[in-house]
Each structure stands twice: as C-alpha cells, then as structure tokens.
C-alpha cells in the first residue's frame, strides 16, 4: 500500500492535478462547491490581505472565524422570538462581525499594551476559540432536539441564509464577501487609513516619524481582519450548518487557508476574489482525488504547502527581474552600462 501511494505521488502528478481542477471547476456541482468554499476564504483572505499590508501578522483568522460563528449562533438562538424575521440575518452578520472583531482585538490589545507578539497571541487564541466551541456544543448550548449530537439547536427559518438553487452557495454572504473585497481595495487605495497601513507596511520607521500611530493602526487592523473572519463564521453557521457544530466542521482550516489566499493574491484585496476561488477549488478537488485516486485528505495539505513555498520562491526571482527601463534617465545605463542591473 505504501509503495502504491508513493508511486501515485511520484508517477502521476499531472493526473492528480487534472483530477483536482476537473473535480472543482468542470462540473456545475463541483463549481458550486468551489464557490461555497471560496466564500469564507474571500472574507478571511480580504481581512488578512489588509493586515499583512500593514505588516501585522494576524495568524488568528481561524479563531476569529470561530468567534464570529459563536456570536452569530448566540444571536440566532437568543433573538429568535424577539426580532422580526427580516432583521434576523442582519443581526446575525452584525453579531458575527462583532465576535470576530473582539477576538481579533484581544490579540491586538495583547500586542499594543503588553507587547505580546501578534503571531503568537493570535495563533494561541485559535486553540482557545476551538476549545470554547467544543465546550459550548458539549455543554451549555447542546441542543435538546439533536438526538444527543454535540450541536446547538437548529436556527429558526428566519435565521438561515437563502442559497442559490441546486447549490450550497449562500448568496448573502457571497455578496458581502465581494463587497468587502472591493471596499478593502478602495480603503487601501483612496483612504487616509489605507495610506497609513501602506506606510507602516512599507517603512515602519518612516511612518512613525510621519506621525502615524502604529498601536492604533494595529488595533484597527486587528478589528477589521477579525471582523471579516467573523462574518465568514456567521455565514458558515447560518448558511451551511444551521447550527453550531464541531470547530473543525465549522471551519475546516479556512483561517489558515486564507493566509495562502492573501499571499496568492499578492495582498491585493481585489485579487483575493480569484485567489479564493482557486484555493476553494483545491479544497474541493482534494475531496475528488480522495475518491478517484485513493489519496488521503492530507495530500491537499501537502499540495498547499508546496504551493505556498513555490510562490515564495517565485517572488524571490520576481524581485530580482532585470528592469527594462524604469525611467527615461535610467535608460542610459542599458546594455550592460553601469545603471543596468
């Protein structure tokens, strides 16, 4: 068996690749699944692209997504008899964004007040969030109507999101994700805050000297990227599961995959949209090759790791590409002259 697995991996990478992408893009069902998985990746990836642009290394999208799912579930369960139906969905998304933002701010506060490195802080909070979800579904929130399964009770009809017929694509979340990517792009390009983020990302020392407050920017970035991941969590529970369930079922690693999404997009929020579709396709194709080629689920993790490393290797060479003629003045140095690199 072991030899068989090794042989498939060495001998037929092209077949594996084509299986992945045929499975996720070539059929209506596969493409629907790809878009479904791209929704949380788009939201979390947009937030991470913003944070990474400001050199804020938020590794906690996974936990922020779960915090959003918990907050949205709390809203759905507690408000079901209190709110008119048409306000339910906005309330869920608001709660999800608030929950994710709060979880992000926790890491931001640890960084700005206690000088806790945000990589460590946000990463550790992922584990805490996953354990908290487990506690809730096995403990106080365990549903009376779920036959003993560790799920909360199902959301009422007004708190579930409409899907595009024949798919699991929950349209409201997709709309929010596309709008968020466009808004983040606009903020980075046109708004004062976006300029501050880019300044901090370009040269933190110069940004500080120009009067930009790094602690304040970090807090806002953590709230924004956490809030976007929280929206993704609200979408997953309200659009897919209709209850809170195991943390690995709510997220299946979207918060970590979103790091690749942001990186593949070159930290450009608009490019996060195709990049999320690409990664969503890999996740769906991963399910396809499990059945068609008998590869284990972790083959996709392997694939993603290699993808991310190849990307970083590629960036190295892209940085070093010889400039054609960057400005008219530099033109003199061409053909091996002193100005030529």
């Amino acid at each position: 068996v072991r030899e068989g697995v090794a042989l498939i991996i060495v001998k037929d990478p092209l077949q594996a690749l084509s299986s992945i992408f045929l499975g996720s893009f070539a059929s209506a069902y596969g493409f629907g699944e790809t878009v479904t998985k791209a929704i949380p990746l788009m939201l979390a990836g947009t937030g991470l692209a913003l944070a990474f642009r400001g050199r804020l290394w938020n590794i906690g999208a996974e936990g922020q997504l779960l915090a959003g799912a918990v907050a949205a579930t709390g809203a759905a369960l507690s408000l079901k008899d209190l709110l008119p139906g048409f306000l339910m969905v906005p309330a869920l998304f608001a709660a999800g964004a608030a929950g994710g933002a709060a979880w992000g701010l926790l890491a931001g506060w640890l960084k700005s007040r206690l000088q806790v490195n945000e990589v460590i802080g946000s990463l550790m909070l992922n584990y805490i969030a996953a354990e908290a979800v487990q506690y809730l579904i096995y403990g106080p929130w365990k549903g009376a109507t779920q036959f003993g399964f560790p799920y909360t009770d199902n959301f009422c009809a007004a708190a579930t999101l409409p899907v595009i017929a024949g798919t699991r694509i929950h349209a409201p979340t997709l709309g929010i994700a596309l709008a968020a990517a466009a808004a983040a792009f606009w903020v980075l390009r046109k708004m004062r805050f976006g300029f501050e983020v880019r300044a901090l990302g370009g040269n933190p020392e110069a940004a500080r000297y120009a009067g930009i407050d790094p602690a304040r920017t970090a807090l806002i970035l953590m709230a924004l990227s956490g809030g976007l991941a929280g929206l993704a969590g609200a979408g997953e529970v309200a659009g897919i599961h209709h209850h809170l369930t195991y943390p690995w079922a709510v997220s299946s690693g979207y918060g970590y995959s979103a790091i690749i999404v942001a990186w593949v997009a070159g930290l450009n929020p608009l490019l996060v949209v195709p990049s999320a579709l690409f990664l969503g396709g890999i996740l769906v194709g991963g399910d396809a090759i499990q059945t068609s080629m008998g590869l284990p689920a972790s083959a996709i993790s392997l694939f993603n790791g290699i993808l991310l490393l190849s990307l970083m290797g590629g960036e190295f060479f892209a940085r070093r590409r010889p400039q054609r003629s960057p400005s008219p003045l530099a033109g003199e140095g061409r053909d091996g002259g002193p100005g030529h690199k």
Binding site: V1, R2, V5, A6, I9, W57, I59, V119, L123, Y256, I259, W263, L295, P296, A297, S298, A299, I300, S301, L302, F303, N304, G305, I306, L308, L309, M312, G313, E315, F316
Partner: protein, 227 residues
C-alpha cells in the same frame, strides 16, 4: 519513590513524559529564534519526524535508526525553511506555516500505510522507566549562586582549571551558572566539574566542606546505575 509520593509521583512521571516533546520542540524553537528566525513550522517538522521515525523503525527493527530518521526528516524540513527564509529572504511567518502544512501533509500521505501497524521494537527504559529520548531533553542544569558570589566569576575560575561551564545571560547574568550534561559528557566529567566547583566556591569565599558535593553526586549516580 512511588510509595512515598503516591499520586504525586505518578502525575509528575506522566507530566515529564508529556513534556518531553514540548521540551525538545521548544529547545529547537529557542535556538532558531535566537538566530533571528521564527519557526512556525515546528508542528510540521514534528509530524514529519514522527512518520519518518516510525517507518524507519518499522522497516529496520531498530529504534535508534528510527530516531536518526526522525532527526533527519526534521532537519531536512528545517533546511527548506532556512533556504526560503534565509537564502531567499522570504517571509518567515508564511514560510513556517507552509512548512507546517507540508509536514502534516507528508505525515498524512506517507503515514496512512502505517495506520494501526504495530511497532515491535521500542526503546528500553534506561532510568526511572524513561526512554533515552527523555534524557536527551534534559540537557543542562542551571544553579543559582549563593548571595554575594558572582556567577560569572565561578565560570571564569573554573575555566582556569580547564572546566568549561556557562554563565547566565541578560537578567540572569551573574546570578546563575549552567552545567551541561548531554552528549559527550560522562560521569567522570560531571564529578570533575563538581569537585572543581567546590574548590572555586571556597576560593571565592563561600565555604564548602570539600567532598560534600562529590559524595552526594556519587550516591545519585550509584543509585541510577543500580536501577
């Protein structure tokens, strides 16, 4: 030991076993971070090391070859990290996460063939029913110097005798000294160091009955050899 400490000793023993992978992983991470490289790929390196160690031990019947394979697998992934984050100057954080994915992927793909496979060969317990890997993790002892004695002077005086130990760093500078006891260091080295330490403490003005430390150390070593 069990009789006198009861549940406490059992808890301690299990904690030590559970702490072994944490301690080894942490020592590696500290070494990497001291050099300025953040390594978020530890998880992947551990997973790859686990599957390499298991499959090598399974194939050869030798836990030591398994250990070597595990070290080799972890080091190979670390080399990938070094190539990307040091040579290519890529982002360390993203690179570390890529390595975690890669290592978990490798272990899942390669290890699927071994799910449920029994491992006939194991490490024999060497001391206090712990395997040798546990003792690899216990690499040094740090000692607080008595009030009024400068730890750095202890280190300097011992070096005059040809015995190399280390002092404290940063906040601990002068307050502690550290004695390594892994790798090539054997019982004779340890006894020599403790004897030298007695002399040095006496010269620095802290009165120790010569031979007290040696006696205690020899008793511990004799007890361990008897287990």
């Amino acid at each position: 030991m069990n009789a006198s400490f009861g549940l406490g000793a059992e808890t301690l023993s299990r904690s030590l076993a559970a702490a072994t992978p944490l301690l080894l992983g942490t020592l590696g991470e500290i070494t990497a971070e001291r050099s300025g490289v953040l390594n978020l790929g530890v998880e992947g390196m551990m997973a790859a090391g686990a599957v390499a160690g298991f499959s090598a031990a399974h194939a050869t019947g030798s836990p030591w070859i398994g250990l070597a394979a595990a070290v080799g697998a972890g080091a190979a992934l670390a080399l990938v990290h070094a190539f990307f984050s040091v040579t290519l100057k890529a982002n360390q954080i993203v690179c570390g996460i890529a390595l975690t994915m890669l290592g978990l992927g490798i272990s899942g793909v390669w290890g699927r063939a071994f799910v449920g496979a029994p491992l006939e060969c194991r490490f024999q317990a060497v001391l206090w029913s712990r395997d040798p890997v546990f003792y690899l993790a216990v690499v040094l002892t740090a000692a607080l110097t008595p009030a009024g004695i400068d730890g750095q002077k202890v280190v300097a005086e011992l070096r005059k005798k040809g015995i190399w130990i280390a002092g404290g760093q940063a906040e601990a500078k002068g307050k502690i000294f550290r004695i390594a006891h892994m790798g090539f260091i054997d019982t004779v080295d340890l006894l020599g160091t403790i004897g030298g330490l007695e002399e040095v403490l006496n010269t620095l003005g802290y009165k120790v009955q010569p031979g007290v430390g040696l006696k205690a150390a020899q008793e511990v070593l004799a007890k361990e050899a008897a287990v």
